[in-house]
């Protein structure tokens, strides 16, 4: 692939507010320079990696994230609190335990019906399904061919974006049952999450005392 496409790809990604897919990038390049241009998805992925290491080397405030089957510019984590200060996005509530649990089940078992979901969770899930539908994290993907033709639920592109996934195979692998048995308590994960909460509360405090900190940072 021609080296000059690096800037073309960068420009295409930069100009997009939504994740732009490798297919669209290829379409744009072939549309201008001819259908016989040799360019593959893996070319684009390696260009993106090159760009990212370039940004990292020059300590830039942004990088390209692979998300929701496409590429999107994102700010780096270091600046999160400043951006959060101005953006009400930050104040959005986090998902509840029930919502995360339901999403996890649907993500792996999709498409699935409500009774199948309730079978695994052991609780009525009407309310939580409606909440997730409203948030556009899941969608009705069709009807099962079984008696009564129940609705089938699946995850959305919004779901991938929300969790920063490129596609569904990026999902964390559920541990096999034998493995769960070996490691009965999952203290590690618990600690990880606790750390995240701690970090967030520190962030909040920093935000609150932003004015005083201006000079020190």
């Amino acid at each position: 692939m021609d080296k000059t496409y690096s800037t073309v790809i960068e420009a295409l990604i930069f100009s997009s507010d939504e994740p732009i897919s490798e297919g669209e990038i290829i379409r744009a390049i072939r549309g201008i320079d001819g259908e016989d241009i040799e360019i593959t998805s893996s070319d684009i992925h390696s260009v993106v990696e090159e760009l990212n290491s370039k940004y990292e080397a020059s300590v830039n405030s942004f990088k390209i994230k692979k998300i929701a089957n496409g590429f999107l510019f994102a700010t780096t984590e270091e600046n999160a609190k400043y951006l959060g200060f101005l953006s009400s996005e930050k104040s959005k509530r986090r998902l509840s335990q029930a919502a995360l649990e339901t999403l996890a089940i649907i993500a792996y078992k999709q498409p699935m019906t409500k009774p199948e979901l309730e079978q695994i969770r052991g609780v009525n899930s009407d309310y939580i399904l409606n909440t997730l539908l409203e948030k556009n994290l899941i969608t009705i993907s069709g009807r099962a061919e079984t008696i009564g033709r129940p609705l089938l639920y699946g995850t959305t592109t919004e779901f991938l974006k929300y969790f920063g996934l490129y596609n569904l195979s990026d999902l964390p692998k559920p541990r096999e049952i034998e493995e769960i048995m070996k490691d009965e308590d999952f203290i590690d994960q618990k600690n990880k999450i606790m750390m995240n909460y701690v970090e967030e509360s520190i962030e909040k405090e920093l935000e609150n005392s932003e004015g005083e900190n201006d000079t020190t940072e």
Partner: protein
């Protein structure tokens, strides 16, 4: 008794996993009778607080009791002749649930990480709270438009219909006395001449009812009148 915060558990399976973890029980060899009694204690607690949630827990409680009973009976065997553990289905459900509970924790972790990133178009999601400007408040509207709209609204008002209810003081007893006095005075009287001069319909109706009452009491008699649409009322002497 220990205290449990209710919303800590996402359901009966979550609660069972909590018991198993807390007491370091072997998930493949759950002491059913012990866990059932603990579970029931909890169910009794939430039954007092939240009936809606309690339903799923009560279902699990009955499943546990069913398993407990089956544990006491001779074991059933499957087609290969192996004993079936009555707890097998429960264990399977618990492990399945646990698997996704772990993934949910991973997702939780990913969610926190993701919140630290902002994407292009980050601020476009924010609602624009612009200061109120008269240009915005009165978009392409003139005083004339407002006046026109006001006039239309006023004219469109439906005239209010008022039903006046007037009480007419007339009772059957009064009219009975009235008829009797007329009959006594004249001996015989035509109905039309009694009601003659009565303005309200209700007074005529009441008079007629009084007439029927009198006839029933056998104080007056009624006979045909030679005039069409009328009748004659006459007094009965011994009435």
């Amino acid at each position: 008794m220990y205290k449990i915060k209710l919303d800590q558990f996402e359901g009966p399976l979550d609660l069972l996993l909590f018991f198993i973890k807390r007491d370091e029980l072997n998930i493949y060899d759950i002491p059913i009778s012990r866990i059932t009694s603990e579970f029931l204690e909890y169910v009794n607690l939430i039954k007092l607080m939240d009936l809606e949630v309690a339903g799923d827990f009560i279902l699990m409680a009955s499943t546990l009791m069913h398993i407990k009973v089956r544990m006491l009976l001779p074991r059933e065997v499957d087609e290969k002749g192996e004993e079936i553990d009555p707890r097998a289905d429960l264990i399977k459900a618990l492990l399945e649930y646990k698997k996704y509970k772990e993934v949910a924790e991973d997702l939780n972790f990913m969610e926190s990480n993701q919140r630290k990133l902002s994407y292009r178009g980050n601020f476009s999601h924010d609602e624009m709270i612009a200061p109120p400007e008269y240009d915005i408040l009165l978009k392409n509207v003139s005083i004339f438009d407002l006046a026109k709209a006001f006039k239309k609204a006023i004219e469109g008002l439906k005239p209010q219909v008022v039903h006046e209810i007037r009480k007419i003081n007339v009772t059957i007893d009064e009219q009975i006395q009235f008829i009797l006095s007329k009959v006594m005075e004249k001996g015989e009287i035509h109905f039309l001449s009694i009601v003659h001069g009565m303005k309200e319909k209700i007074r005529i109706v009441i008079t007629f009812v009084a007439l029927l009452e009198l006839a029933k009491m056998e104080k007056i008699g009624i006979r045909e009148s030679p005039d069409f649409n009328d009748f004659v009322i006459y007094g009965i002497a011994n009435g």
